[in-house]
């Protein structure tokens, strides 16, 4: 038996061409879709209607042209955040159960008693643009996040947003998750998000 001939080398020169072809195919078909947004829970259809006192309601109306009315007074979009924070964090109740010991608001008598009682009522008209609606929704979430971050920083020395991000990360281990879950609950109880929506006839 003679020496075995070594196998002939495969020419790999066209490999690049093939890879390029595939690359271009994937480049063309790729659509990097957005997968972020604002989460909301809709109210149940047969939900209970609770009567609220006038002072605990902040009504925000978005007009057809995107103009904002807060408690029937016109306001610029830039001021909305501060107005909402002032309203939620007011802590107007002086004594009793509703007294809010962590609120840093001005404790005025015409704004909310307690963050857990404060309700934001968002009203739109049929012709209001969706963009304006999302802008306002975004500001409302921002207001809650500001307050929640503040309390999280005070109590747990970290921000609410960070805790939430770590909690949602699937790689976080169980014990950390449990701890974070408790902390997040504490914060959410201090500033529960009460956003109600109404459709206005007009």
């Amino acid at each position: 038996m003679g020496k075995r001939k070594s196998a002939p080398e495969v020419n790999a020169g066209s490999m690049a061409d093939i890879a390029f072809l595939l690359l271009i195919f994937f480049l063309v078909t790729t659509t990097i879709e957005t997968d972020v947004g604002l989460d909301r829970m809709l109210p149940r259809e047969d939900g209970d209607y609770i009567e609220y006192e006038q002072r605990n309601i902040l009504s925000i109306l978005i007009g057809v042209d995107g103009a904002l009315l807060v408690n029937d007074e016109p306001i610029t979009p830039e001021l909305l955040l501060k107005t909402v924070i002032d309203f939620i964090d007011n802590g107007g109740a002086q004594t009793g159960e509703a007294f809010c010991d962590y609120c840093q608001g001005e404790r005025r008598t015409n704004l909310s008693d307690n963050p857990s009682k404060a309700v934001l009522v968002l009203g739109t008209q049929r012709e209001t643009s969706y963009g304006a609606y999302i802008a306002v929704q975004n500001e409302l979430v921002a207001a809650y996040n500001v307050l929640r971050n503040r309390e999280a920083n005070r109590l747990f020395k970290t921000s609410y947003i960070k805790m939430d991000a770590i909690y949602r990360n699937p790689q976080t281990d169980r014990t950390t998750k449990e701890l974070l879950n408790n902390r997040i609950r504490v914060i959410q109880k201090m500033y529960p998000m009460n956003i109600s929506e109404a459709q206005l006839k007009k």
């Binding site: 947004g37 969706y130 921002a142």
Partner: protein
């Protein structure tokens, strides 16, 4: 005369392209992994609004999508320019949203059926009337978890 002429000293050696396939393959794998094949072609204009207080959407198998927007150019003649709802591959009325959600919910795995999110991909120029109609339909079938899907960005740009 020498048989082997000396190379000119100034000549630059050719660049080796042997690693080119490797680089291309690397790119290829990147695009292969990030690619999301489109399940349904959009028939509506869909420029989402911007927001910055956003949260990531759930995994894809737990999400039902509803698209809203003006019919795109080629459908304008048939369907007009008023914003429409697109469910799967066809234009629909608000009244069809409920049955669509139930139908999609039935398709999902049983364990996931209670954890579904409805992602509203709505063009920023759509009007709220249609959205409220959709929301009241969603409430009727108890699909309460919604996500207003947006791009990441400054929310005030929506107002302009």
């Amino acid at each position: 005369m020498s048989k082997f002429s000396k190379k000119k000293s100034g000549e630059v050696p050719a660049v080796s392209t042997a690693s080119l396939p490797d680089i291309v393959f690397m790119l290829l794998f990147f695009f292969m992994t990030v690619t999301v094949m489109k399940d349904n072609s959009l028939k509506v204009e869909n420029i989402l609004p911007n927001a910055n207080e956003i949260k990531k959407l759930d995994k894809k198998d737990r999400v039902i999508y509803i698209y809203v927007g003006k019919p795109s150019k080629e459908y304008e003649k048939v369907y007009g320019t008023e914003p429409k709802i697109q469910l799967n591959d066809k234009f629909s009325d608000p009244s069809e949203v409920g049955s669509y959600i139930l139908q999609e919910r039935a398709k999902k795995h049983q364990d996931l059926q209670n954890f579904l999110t409805t992602s509203l991909k709505v063009d920023k120029n759509a009007n709220m009337g249609l959205i409220s109609d959709i929301k009241s339909e969603l409430r009727k079938v108890n699909a309460l978890k919604v996500n207003y899907t947006t791009y990441e960005g400054d929310a005030f740009r929506n107002l302009q």
